[in-house]
């Protein structure tokens, strides 16, 4: 039997799709579904096997004050890191897009934090934040300020971590903005100057709208990172003091590997997945429509 041309095309198509599909299914779709299923079962031990308990895990999650605490922390963390790092990235990109002495050196300096692994960054900042002997307290000391226990005080620990994350991320986003800026034709700037537009007006009305596709991309990345990046917590605070710097993903890790409560970790993961999916959808369907693509 010979396949018709049309059928052959289908076979070809599926064959081409197979490698990617296998990877996607085994590493993305299957774990997602398994997580969802796990979240409906109780924690199994050798003595008491796991059994179906419906929404009990979700109920105990809703009653878990630490869950609400880490969720709140995560929202503050996102609010603290995303706008600041994007604004900073644009500012840095504008700065190093101009002709200036030592330009490549400045570009490199801005980009360096990105190259470092998060664990290394956290180790460096741990000593910045150390009370009295840390860099920050030493510098403040010159101006006569007393030392502060940055990571040991519940009211300063989250801002301290936000600042470190912004420092780490802004350089990465800058690269995208820099690339985007170099794709903007110089005629636009010349035309604006002829028309007498000031630089702020030019940025607000011309550059920023043209950068919007990049901003969307960066925004998605920043949002994902604000939920995905927890490496620094292992080094800096372990979520403390008293969960003041605990984030959702770190709590998931704790539940799974410190408490061995995999079903509860699965439940939390479902919430995290739901949050991320919802945010991605908002970004794609709401923001995307307002963006001008050339």
């Amino acid at each position: 039997m010979r396949l018709s041309q049309d059928q052959m095309k289908h076979v070809h198509g599926w064959l081409l799709l197979t490698p990617a599909a296998i990877l996607l299914v085994s590493f993305t779709h299957y774990p997602t579904v398994a997580t969802l299923i796990n979240s409906f079962f109780s924690k199994g031990t050798a003595i008491r096997p796991s059994r179906f308990i419906g929404f009990d895990n979700y109920r105990s999650m809703a009653e878990d004050p630490i869950f609400w605490k880490v969720l709140g922390n995560n929202l503050w963390f996102a609010l603290g890191t995303i706008p600041t790092s994007i604004a900073l990235a644009i500012a840095m990109a504008l700065l190093v897009n101009r002709a200036m002495p030592g330009r490549s050196f400045v570009r490199m300096a801005y980009f360096t934090p990105t190259i470092l692994p998060m664990i290394a960054v956290a180790n460096i900042w741990l000593f910045f934040y150390t009370p009295d002997i840390g860099l920050i307290d030493k510098v403040l000391g010159w101006f006569g300020f007393a030392g502060h226990n940055w990571l040991g005080d519940p009211s300063t620990v989250l801002p301290a971590i936000i600042i470190m994350t912004v420092w780490k991320e802004a350089g990465f986003f800058m690269i995208f903005y820099l690339a985007a800026l170099q794709n903007i034709p110089p005629e636009l700037g010349e035309a604006a100057r002829l028309e007498g537009a000031n630089r702020w007006y030019f940025f607000r009305r011309v550059l920023f709208p043209l950068l919007m596709p990049t901003t969307l991309f960066v925004l998605i990345n920043a949002v994902l990172n604000s939920f995905k990046l927890v490496d620094h917590l292992f080094v800096l605070t372990k979520g403390g003091p008293d969960n003041a710097s605990n984030l959702l993903l770190y709590y998931i890790f704790e539940s799974a590997f410190s408490f061995f409560d995999t079903p509860y970790a699965a439940t939390l993961t479902v919430v995290l997945l739901g949050l991320l999916a919802a945010m991605a959808l908002v970004q794609f369907f709401v923001l995307d429509r307002r963006i001008h693509y050339r």
Binding site: F127, T130, I133, N149, G152, G240, P241
Partner: protein
């Protein structure tokens, strides 16, 4: 036709040959018992090299046993890896893991008690040869599940130069809570350049708290791992004292104190006293630019510290031969002379009296008496906090301690809440 038959015969002969060879090789491999062992490293220094060296010595002495010792990160990582290997069906036969993982491992039905493996009288005597205090975290329900290996206690490091400068006797470390506060007040400088003392409250707050409660003559949990005493009056008092060191006596910074940077604080002279693991001893000895002392923790109603560190466990999914081989390895690694060597190289303590009776450790202690403080303190030591659901219970206590130290809750309220949490978690195990 003939040719074909001949060819077939040849092929069959070759195949038979190969099969025979394969069989032979399998037989040879079977003669050697293979052991896989995970071990964690929780303090600085070239510990993996030391372990590898000990394993190599063991293999030389026991050519029929092949040991595959895998460094598995910190205590948490080691437990995760060992349990993951167990679930994947390629389990390790033995591992060094956190002594307080005991109940979790029992609940997972992952390990066997050593009582099932020891047979001869000599082995039964071996089981009794370790310091009893170090066995507390390895024994429950009348059975021994863990054999001590890399063990430590909390000790008090103090800066003798700072003591002299403050007019204190550098040879006499504070021995009671009152003396601690009094010395602390003399050692704390008004301009904030030097604190009297620091007790770390991140990383392992529950461990430090175990010392304070024991000094107040109160243990944190029962031996079965099913009950906690977090809201006992003596426990509350101990937390109140910890908090008072910062907020009332002003001899310690307020808020939490970072575990990871504390050693640097001490070495830089920012604090005159620190409480820390004996595992830091060798590093402090190497790096301190001032004269330092090591002493037992002070007493309130009595002296006290929890033990800490890692034990050997044998996993359940093992054959009889593997268990025998694992026993051989554990006996080798915990023998007095090995334990003495291990203690000198790392700062961990010798695990039996016999280890301290070896000539080399005796000699070492003579030259560096602080190496024996941890051992002497064992007389006052208690088990490290370990219960069923240990991760959750521990975190609840950690959170309560940090909430009290940062002033978010009063010690009493924080500990009451924690006790309620622990009761809820442990109810079904009683």
């Amino acid at each position: 036709m003939n040719m074909m038959i001949r060819k077939t015969l040849k092929g069959a002969a070759a195949a038979a040959c190969m099969t025979a060879m394969t069989f032979g090789m399998t037989a040879m491999a079977q003669a050697k018992t293979e052991l896989t062992m995970y071990y964690p490293v929780a303090v600085g220094g070239p510990l993996t090299k030391i372990v590898d060296g000990m394993i190599a010595d063991f293999e030389k002495a026991n050519p029929d046993i092949d040991v595959n010792a895998i460094y598995a990160g910190n205590y948490n990582d080691a437990r995760i890896k060992a349990l993951a290997a167990l679930k994947s069906g390629k389990p390790a036969q033995l591992s060094v893991m956190f002594s307080i993982d005991l109940y979790e491992l029992i609940e997972q039905d992952a390990i066997i008690p050593f009582d099932e493996v020891v047979k001869t009288d000599e082995e039964k005597a071996w089981l009794k040869s370790f310091y009893p205090t170090l066995m507390q975290n390895g024994v429950t329900g009348g059975k021994t599940w863990g054999i001590p290996f890399q063990r430590s206690t909390i000790v008090m490091y103090y800066n003798k130069d700072a003591f002299k400068a403050a007019g204190l006797d550098p040879e006499k470390a504070p021995a009671s809570w009152d003396e601690l506060v009094a010395s602390g007040k003399k050692l704390t400088k008004a301009d904030g350049s030097q604190w009297g003392m620091m007790i770390p409250s991140t990383g392992y707050p529950y461990w430090m708290f175990g010392a304070l409660t024991m000094q107040n003559d109160q243990v944190l949990m029962n031996g079965a791992g099913t009950r906690t005493n977090f809201d006992a009056p003596a426990t509350v008092e101990a937390l109140q004292f910890w908090k008072d060191l910062g907020s009332k006596h002003k001899v310690m910074p307020e808020g939490t104190i970072e575990w990871g940077t504390l050693r640097k604080n001490f070495l830089e002279g920012k604090t005159a006293i620190m409480w820390h693991s004996t595992g830091n001893l060798t590093t402090v000895k190497k790096k301190a630019k001032f004269d330092f002392g090591v002493a037992m923790l002070p007493a309130n109603k009595r002296r006290g510290t929890p033990t800490g560190g890692g034990n050997f466990y044998i996993f359940k999914k093992t054959t009889a031969e593997e268990r025998t081989a694992a026993m051989k390895l554990i006996k080798f690694m915990t023998s007095p002379s090995r334990s003495a060597e291990w203690s000198m190289k790392t700062g961990y303590m010798g695990i039996s009296q016999a280890a301290y009776d070896t000539d080399k450790l005796k000699e070492y202690v003579k030259g560096f008496p602080y190496a024996a403080v941890a051992r002497d303190q064992l007389n006052f030591a208690t088990a490290e906090l370990a219960t069923y659901q240990t991760g959750r219970v521990r975190k609840a206590l950690d959170d309560a301690i940090q909430a009290a130290l940062t002033g978010a809750k009063t010690p009493e309220a924080a500990l009451k809440e924690t006790q309620a949490t622990a009761d809820r978690l442990l109810k079904s195990y009683r």
